[in-house]
Subunit: 328 residues, 2 copies
């Protein structure tokens, strides 16, 4: 797929983002999975964003967003909203950079992630269980307090921050590859796809969503951003009901297709990653591996690279999944 | 501590080992632990041997041992004995290199590790629950079958294979550091200490054993290799009752001291590594972190590097530990 010329304009933002975050976030490991490579008869690598500080890739957009206007953030503080991983990431990055942070989370957000957000120094404001209430609460706080608002996925800084993951992959793999990455609002895959396709246009990219929340897939099918009310899912990190304006445009232009993954497949992937790969991964971080297991050959060629985007699983859920029968 | 001149002779073996295994085992990640660095007010890094194929550092000596006499191993097969991680590693490396492998394990060895050894293509022979029975069974098989015997920790090839971990650390850390590494027979720490102290003599090295099996510590105190009957411990990878002849000499010359870690401290470290670091670690792999938590300052200066030597914990034990109360 040719890269639309306007996307080349991003090149500078990506390089700037990489320089900005370099002192705070070293590249995450890319490890070969012996087990998956054997099972799928294809080289499979895992990009371990679960080993980031706070246990998720979201520190990339958090650092890039705050560093982009550090003086203003230091003076006024920041506000954002999140289902949990961006919350922790903003709290962590803000504290590290001497910035006050306020994070709006829904009442029903993961309790584990909420406690961790507070532990990282974030002030959590709880709102009702709807994306509308969350957006309104965030906007009210921004207006009243003058805090700098950080968009969790659709701002230029968030997308460029996520793109640093793609730049690292280009350094870490010497050939064209096929990438599998989770999609919620689309920030991770939009940024990563930008970096990867600008660097190596022949790489293939498959997005992965929970069957319970196919918001990007439905939007691509409709060729416009549609609202998809999410159902309950283990993947509490993949619940954004409508893609961002920018992320949708980038995904439509750069991502080859989107696969859906069911709840049982997530559980199996979490179990497999713990027992065979010695990794604690949350459901939203395991969907790329679940999708690789479901269809190891139908996407592109070269090695398969699964983005393991986060590890913040509730300990009780991990216990439950470890007790389930499985191969290992 | 000055390095005795005879240890400099090892230099060549180390370089050869590194070249030998390079095509099979890329360097393992070294990651900064945000949580431990904050808790201990000191930079703490984790060397993730748990992410090796088979989930333990033992693939280093396994590949180096087989590759050192590959033609002979291919013709005659190999035999070894192990509490579990070297068993899996030899099975894996042998299968990869087209070599037939036979591994002697005690009846009481971890069932999880035994099943994995077979899954990697090793033929397991079960013997009685004593180190004597294990040694005799191994020697009998060697004599009867003509297989090449691989020593799990005390051969030159095993020590040089383990030393590749130390060579990687010298590349990965640009300053003098303090290393914490587990000790069972002493192979891991002897090899690592050799590489580290030959390269940077001012690094400090603390070995760590389970209180239930202080075989190296007792031997150092007695200034000779004494037999210490091990008691039951979660750390089933750290049960060798007497140091090797070579490993003892190297540890005496190169390791600064040996700390002991209790069972509760291991459980806490396993829990912390899962919840904060998103890593599945077995008890023998968690003792370095447990020792760092117990005494973060009394060893040397610079960053603390904990070798996370393996991740092969029984899923049921991990479940049990995740249900225990803790800070996170």
């Amino acid at each position: 797929m040719p890269i639309p010329p306007e996307h080349r304009l991003w090149n500078d933002f990506l390089r700037v983002a990489r320089r900005r975050i370099a002192g705070y976030l070293p590249p995450t490991p890319l490890v070969r999975s012996e087990f998956l490579s054997r099972e799928l008869r294809r080289d499979v690598f895992l990009k371990l964003e679960s080993l980031q500080p706070v246990g998720a890739f979201k520190v990339r957009p958090a650092f890039n967003g705050i560093l982009a206007s550090l003086q203003e953030c230091r003076a006024a503080g920041v506000v954002t909203n999140s289902s949990g991983n961006f919350a922790q990431a903003v709290a962590f990055a803000a504290t590290r950079l001497g910035v006050d942070s306020c994070i709006v989370m829904m009442r029903g957000a993961s309790e584990f992630k909420r406690r961790r957000t507070e532990a990282f120094g974030g002030k959590v404001v709880v709102c009702d269980d709807s994306f509308r209430s969350r957006a309104e609460t965030t906007e009210r706080i921004r207006k009243e307090s003058g805090r700098v608002a950080l968009h969790p996925f659709d701002s230029r800084e968030s997308i460029a921050g996520n793109a640093t993951l793609g730049l690292e992959l280009l350094d870490q793999i010497g050939e064209d590859f096929t990438l599998l990455a989770p999609i919620s609002g689309g920030g991770l895959i939009a940024g990563t796809a930008l970096a990867v396709k600008l660097g190596r246009p022949d790489c293939r990219i498959r997005g992965v969503q929970a069957q319970a929340n196919p918001s990007m897939k439905r939007s691509l099918e409709a060729d416009r951003r549609v609202l998809t009310e999410p159902s309950a899912s283990l993947a509490d990190a993949l619940t954004v009901p409508r893609p961002g304006r920018n992320t949708f445009a980038l995904v439509r232009a750069l991502v080859d297709d989107v696969a859906l993954v069911g709840e049982e497949a997530m559980r199996s992937a979490i179990r497999l990653l713990a027992i065979e790969e010695k990794l604690v991964v949350e459901a939203g971080g395991a969907v790329s591996v679940a999708a690789a297991l479901a269809a190891p050959r139908e996407v592109g060629g070269g090695p398969l690279v699964c983005v393991v985007s986060g590890g913040n699983i509730e300990p009780n859920l991990l216990r439950e999944i470890l007790s389930e029968p499985g191969e290992a």
